[in-house]
C-alpha cells in the first residue's frame, strides 16, 4: 500500500483525510475513470451523492453510442456463446471486432446447436481489414463509412433499392440465415450507425432470426451502466449537483467540464488500468489507482492512494468479457491491500463527519 499527499509519501489515513479535505472544498467535483470492481463503483456513487458530484466513466464513448440508439429505438442482441454455437451467418462490421480472439474462435467452432446444426457457417465482413487469415467473404464499405453503408444495405434488404450491387448480394445472404448475428463495436459504428443496424435487424426478423453482438468496452463500462441503473434509475453520466440524480451525457462529460472551467476538483478512479486523462494535473485531484500502475506515483495528483487490483491482488465483481455478465474474480496473486471500495467509503465517512452534504 502506498499513498502520497502533494508528492510526499503518506500513510493511508493521512491520504484519506487529505482527499476528504480536497473534495470538501470543491463546489463542482467530478468523479471520473470508474474503472474498478462493482463494490468500488457502488462506493463511488455513494461518495458522489454525498458530495453533489458528477460521475463519468472512461468507457463513455462506446456506452453512449449504444445507449443513445437503445433509448431511441431498442435493440435485438444475443451472446457470444449463442453466436459461437448457433449462428450460421455472422456479419462482422468494421475493424475492431477483428482485434482479440472472438472472430477466430467463431470461425473455428462448428455449429452444434439449433436448426442450423451441422451446416457450414458463413462469415461475412463489411468495411473490415480484409483479414486473410480467416476465411470470409468481404464487402467494402461506402466512402461515407459504416453507418452510410448500413443504410445502403438496409435499402436493398427492404427492396427500396434494386440491382446487382454487392449489397444486394449481401442482403440476400443475410435473409438466408437461420440464426444470424452482426458483430460490431458501438464506438466505431457510432450512434447513428447502431440505430441503422438495429433497424436492419428488425427488418430481417420479419422472416428469420437475426441478432446483434455488440462488443463490450474494456473499462468496466457495462458493469458501471448496470450499477448506475439500479442505483439511480438511470445510466451514466450522472450528476448529483441538484440533490437528485440527473442523467446528461453532455453536461457531465468530465473532460468538457474541466476544459470549460466548470469543475474545480476531481477524483480519478482507476483500480484497473485506464487511459490517463489529459486533464490530470490541471486541477486539484485525488487519484485512486491500482498498485503497480504507471499512475501509482506521487506526481500523478495532489493525493494519490494505491489500492489492490481487482482480480489480481484482491477479489472483486467484474465484467467478464467472455461470459458477458458480471462475475466474481478471485485474486490471482492475493496480497494485503486496501480495496478501492474501502478507500472511497472512508473518504465518504470523513466527509460526513465534516458535515459535508450536497
Amino acid at each position: 500500500m502506498a499513498a502520497w499527499v502533494k508528492g510526499g509519501a503518506a500513510d493511508v489515513d493521512a491520504a484519506v483525510a487529505a482527499a476528504a479535505d480536497l473534495l470538501a472544498t470543491a463546489r463542482v467535483p467530478v468523479l471520473a475513470g470508474l474503472n474498478a470492481d462493482v463494490a468500488a463503483l457502488r462506493a463511488a456513487y455513494r461518495l458522489a451523492e454525498t458530495l453533489g458530484a458528477s460521475l463519468d466513466p472512461v468507457a463513455g464513448p462506446g456506452i453512449y453510442a449504444e445507449l443513445g440508439a437503445l433509448s431511441a429505438g431498442g435493440a435485438m442482441t444475443t451472446t457470444r456463446a449463442e453466436t459461437t454455437a448457433r449462428a450460421d451467418v455472422v456479419l462482422i462490421l468494421g475493424n475492431r471486432p477483428w482485434d482479440g480472439d472472438l472472430i477466430a474462435e467463431i470461425a473455428a467452432a462448428p455449429i452444434r446447436r439449433g436448426r442450423a446444426t451441422g451446416s457450414e457457417r458463413a462469415l461475412l465482413s463489411l468495411g473490415g481489414p480484409q483479414n486473410g487469415a480467416i476465411r470470409h467473404v468481404a464487402y467494402g464499405a461506402d466512402e461515407g463509412g459504416l453507418a452510410v453503408s448500413l443504410g445502403h444495405l438496409r435499402a436493398f434488404a427492404k427492396g427500396h433499392l434494386a440491382g446487382e450491387e454487392a449489397f444486394a448480394d449481401l442482403a440476400r445472404r443475410l435473409f438466408a440465415a437461420q440464426y444470424g448475428v452482426v458483430i460490431y463495436d458501438a464506438e466505431e459504428l457510432g450512434e447513428i450507425g447502431v440505430e441503422m443496424l438495429q433497424g436492419l435487424i428488425r427488418d430481417l426478423n420479419e422472416s428469420t432470426r437475426f441478432f446483434t453482438l455488440p462488443l463490450a468496452d474494456p473499462f468496466q463500462g457495462r458493469a458501471t451502466v448496470q450499477l448506475s441503473a439500479w442505483t439511480t434509475g438511470q445510466a451514466p453520466r450522472v450528476g448529483f449537483g441538484r440533490h437528485l440524480p440527473e442523467h446528461d451525457p453532455w453536461r457531465f462529460d468530465s473532460a468538457r467540464q474541466i476544459a470549460a472551467g466548470e469543475a474545480d476538483a476531481a477524483l480519478w478512479l482507476a483500480a484497473l488500468p485506464a487511459p490517463r486523462p489529459d486533464w490530470l494535473g490541471t486541477l486539484p485531484t485525488v487519484a485512486i489507482v491500482g498498485e503497480g500502475s504507471t499512475e501509482a506515483a506521487g506526481e500523478t495528483a495532489e493525493v494519490v492512494i494505491t489500492v489492490g487490483v481487482p482480480g489480481e491482488s484482491v477479489g472483486g465483481a467484474l465484467w467478464n468479457q467472455r461470459r458477458g455478465v458480471i462475475a466474481y474474480a478471485d485474486a490471482t496473486s492475493p496480497a494485503e491491500a486496501e480495496t478501492a471500495a474501502g478507500v472511497l467509503a472512508r473518504i465518504r465517512d470523513r466527509l460526513i463527519e465534516k458535515g459535508v452534504s450536497c
Binding site: 463494490a39 431498442g74 446447436r113 451502466v225 442505483t231 462475475a327
Partner: protein
C-alpha cells in the same frame, strides 16, 4: 426490548384473529403476551395491525429490469432527496423500490426471474434494495444443459441434481419455468407454442420439460412449488393453456404466475385469433377449485404507461408491434434472455378496461384468497404502488361501481365484474397479501402474527378510503425496528436475501463444470454468487430450509 402494540384491530386470519387486541414483540419476534412491563408501548387505537406484506412476483432486479430503465429513462421521475437514504427518491432505483414497498407495509419481496447465467448481478441489485427481505426464483426450462439431459433420457435423478446444482449456485429461493422450451423454440424460428408442440432440435415439449421440473422441485423439497409462466400469455384462448398446464401437473404442487393474462377466453370461436377475448375468470377459478395443488397470483392491470419485462422472448417478440412508445429490446440469451416492451394500458380503452376487469373478477370470484395472491406482475400489469387502489376496489363495491361506470360497455359484455357485489374483508386482504404469499413461498416465519413470527408488522389507520389507508402505513416494523412512520421511511437498513439451503451434488458439479467449460470457455466460478462479492454487508443471505 419488549414492545406491546396495544389496542389495535389485529387481523391475522391464520390465527382466526380479527378484533381489538395486542401484539407483543421482543428481539425481532412476536412473543406471547407478557406479564412484564413493556419497554415500549405503541398505541394502535383506531388502527389495523397486520403482518408485513409479502410480494411473490415483482420484477425488481436483474438484467432485464436494468434494460427497461435504459430503454425508458423517463418512465419514473426522480425527486429531490431529503436527508436519509441517498437514492430512495431516484425513480425506479432499487432504493425507490424498497422505500415504496415499505411505505405500503410490505416487508418481503421476491424477484421471480433470477437467470442462473446472470445470477450475481441480479443478487447485487437485490442486495441494494433496502428495508425488505428479498429473494429470487431461479429460471429453468430453456437452458441447453437441461434440455440435453431430457432429450437424452437421463432420468429423474440427473434432472434433480442439475436443478439442485443450479439452485445452489444461483442462490435461488425457488424454481420458475417461463414458457418452457419457448425461448429455445423461438431461436429456431417458432412463433407460437402450445403445451404439446415439439421444441425443435430436442424432441421435447413444454409438458415434458415442466413435468420434469415439477418432479425435481418435489424431490429436492423446495418449499415454493414450481412457479410456472405458461405458453400463450395474453392471447385469446390462453385460458386453455392454463387449464391444460394445470391438468398436466397431475396433482403436483404448482403456482401460476399472473393468471389474469391467461384468463382470456376466445370471444368468437369462428375467428379465435381475431375476434378478441372475453373473461375466463370463472373457468380459471373453477379449475383451481378442482385442483387444490395449485395457486396463482393475479397480475392485475392498472391503467397508464408501463413497460413489460419478461424472459418469455417468444411472447415478447410477438408483442413487439404493440409497443408504445415504439421501441423495444429483445435479447436471445444463453437460456431465455429477455424482452422489454413498453406498453400503455390506455385509460378507459376497451381492451385495457377488459383486462382490468378480469383481474378484479378473478380475485372477487376466488373462494380462497390465500391461493389468490395480489400482484400486478410489476411492472407488466402496472406499478406495484397501485396495490392500495386495487385493495380499495376489492373492499368497496360502491367505489368499484363508480370506476366501472367510467369504462366502456365491453366490461359488462365480456366480464362478470359489474354484477359482483362481494367486498373483501380485512382478513381476506391479509390472506391475499400476507398469509397466502408467505405460505406459498414456504416462509413459515412471516405472513402472520402468531408467536415466533418475525416482527414484520404493518399498522394502518383504519380508513374507509382504503387507498389512503394502505398507501401510507402509520407504522411499519421490520424485525421489530421502526422503518416507516406516517408513511415516511424513518430508518434505513438492509434486509436479507432469502436463499434455499441446498448443496450441489458433487458429481453434477463436476459434470456442469465440464459442460460450461465446453460451452462458454468458462466454468462454474463465473456463475457463482460468493459472499465475497458483497463486501459492505456483513451477512447478505439468509438460509431457508428445504421441506422435510
Amino acid at each position: 426490548m419488549l414492545i406491546r402494540i396495544q389496542g389495535g384491530r389485529v387481523v391475522d386470519p391464520t390465527a382466526g384473529r380479527d378484533g381489538v387486541g395486542d401484539v407483543w414483540i421482543e428481539d425481532g419476534r412476536v412473543v406471547a403476551p407478557s406479564e412484564r412491563t413493556p419497554d415500549e408501548t405503541i398505541d394502535a387505537t383506531g388502527c389495523v395491525v397486520m403482518a408485513g406484506g409479502v410480494e411473490v412476483h415483482s420484477h425488481i432486479a436483474g438484467g432485464n429490469v436494468v434494460m427497461s430503465r435504459l430503454l425508458l429513462p423517463d418512465l419514473y421521475v426522480s425527486e429531490s432527496a431529503p436527508n436519509g437514504h441517498p437514492f430512495a427518491h431516484a425513480g425506479g432505483s432499487g432504493s425507490w423500490v424498497g422505500a415504496n414497498y415499505a411505505r405500503m407495509g410490505y416487508t418481503t419481496a421476491v424477484e421471480p426471474a433470477l437467470p442462473p447465467s446472470n445470477a450475481l448481478a441480479t443478487h447485487l441489485e437485490l442486495a441494494d434494495i433496502p428495508l425488505l427481505d428479498r429473494g429470487g426464483l431461479a429460471v429453468l426450462g430453456n437452458d441447453d444443459h437441461l434440455l440435453q439431459l431430457l432429450r437424452d433420457g437421463e432420468g429423474k435423478a440427473a434432472v434433480r441434481d442439475l436443478v439442485q446444482q443450479t439452485l445452489a449456485h444461483s442462490r435461488g429461493l425457488g424454481v420458475k419455468c417461463i414458457n418452457a422450451g419457448g425461448a429455445s423454440a423461438f431461436k429456431d424460428g417458432v412463433l407460437k407454442l402450445s403445451l404439446d408442440d415439439e421444441i425443435p432440435c430436442y424432441g421435447l415439449s413444454t409438458r415434458t420439460i415442466m413435468s420434469a421440473l415439477l418432479d425435481a422441485v418435489e424431490e429436492i423439497g423446495v418449499p415454493h412449488p414450481l412457479h410456472v409462466h405458461c405458453n400463450n400469455l395474453g392471447l385469446p384462448g390462453a385460458d386453455d393453456s392454463l387449464v391444460a398446464t394445470l391438468e398436466a401437473a397431475e396433482g403436483r404442487r404448482i403456482h401460476f404466475a399472473h393468471a389474469q393474462f391467461y384468463a382470456y377466453g376466445v370471444a368468437d370461436p369462428e375467428n379465435p385469433m381475431t375476434g378478441g377475448f372475453r373473461s375466463a375468470a370463472e373457468r380459471i377459478n373453477a379449475a383451481m377449485e378442482a385442483h387444490p395443488n395449485a395457486t396463482y397470483d393475479v397480475g392485475q392491470v392498472v391503467f397508464g404507461q408501463t413497460v413489460t419485462i419478461s424472459l418469455d422472448i417468444l411472447r415478447q417478440f410477438g408483442g413487439r408491434k404493440g409497443a408504445k412508445p415504439k421501441k423495444w429490446v429483445l435479447s436471445a440469451g444463453d437460456a431465455e434472455g429477455g424482452g422489454v416492451v413498453p406498453f400503455l394500458y390506455r385509460p378507459r380503452g376497451p381492451v385495457s378496461s377488459l383486462q382490468w376487469a378480469i383481474g378484479l373478477e378473478l380475485m372477487l370470484l376466488s373462494s380462497n384468497p390465500e391461493r389468490t395472491i395480489l400482484t400486478t406482475d410489476h411492472p407488466n400489469g402496472g406499478v406495484f404502488t397501485e396495490y392500495p387502489r386495487i385493495i380499495h376496489l376489492l373492499m368497496d363495491a360502491e367505489e368499484r361501481a363508480r370506476e366501472i361506470a367510467t369504462l366502456p360497455a365491453v366490461v359488462g359484455e365480456r366480464s362478470g365484474l359489474p354484477k359482483i357485489e362481494r367486498e373483501y374483508t380485512l382478513s381476506e386482504i391479509a390472506q391475499l397479501t400476507r398469509s397466502g404469499p408467505a405460505k406459498l413461498l414456504g416462509l413459515t416465519d412471516r405472513g402472520h402474527l402468531r408467536e415466533g413470527a418475525k416482527a414484520d408488522i404493518a399498522i394502518y389507520r383504519d380508513d374507509r378510503n382504503r387507498t389512503a389507508m394502505f398507501s401510507h402505513a402509520k407504522l411499519v416494523l421490520k424485525d421489530g425496528q421502526r422503518i416507516v412512520e406516517d408513511g415516511e421511511v424513518v430508518a434505513w437498513f438492509s434486509g436479507k436475501t432469502l436463499s434455499l439451503n441446498v448443496e450441489a451434488d458433487a458429481g453434477m458439479e463436476k459434470r456442469a463444470e465440464s459442460y460450461l467449460q465446453d460451452r462458454f470457455g468458462a466454468g462454474l466460478d463465473t456463475f457463482a454468487v460468493p459472499d465475497a462479492a458483497f463486501p459492505e454487508q456483513t451477512r447478505t443471505f439468509e438460509d431457508v430450509a428445504c421441506r422435510a
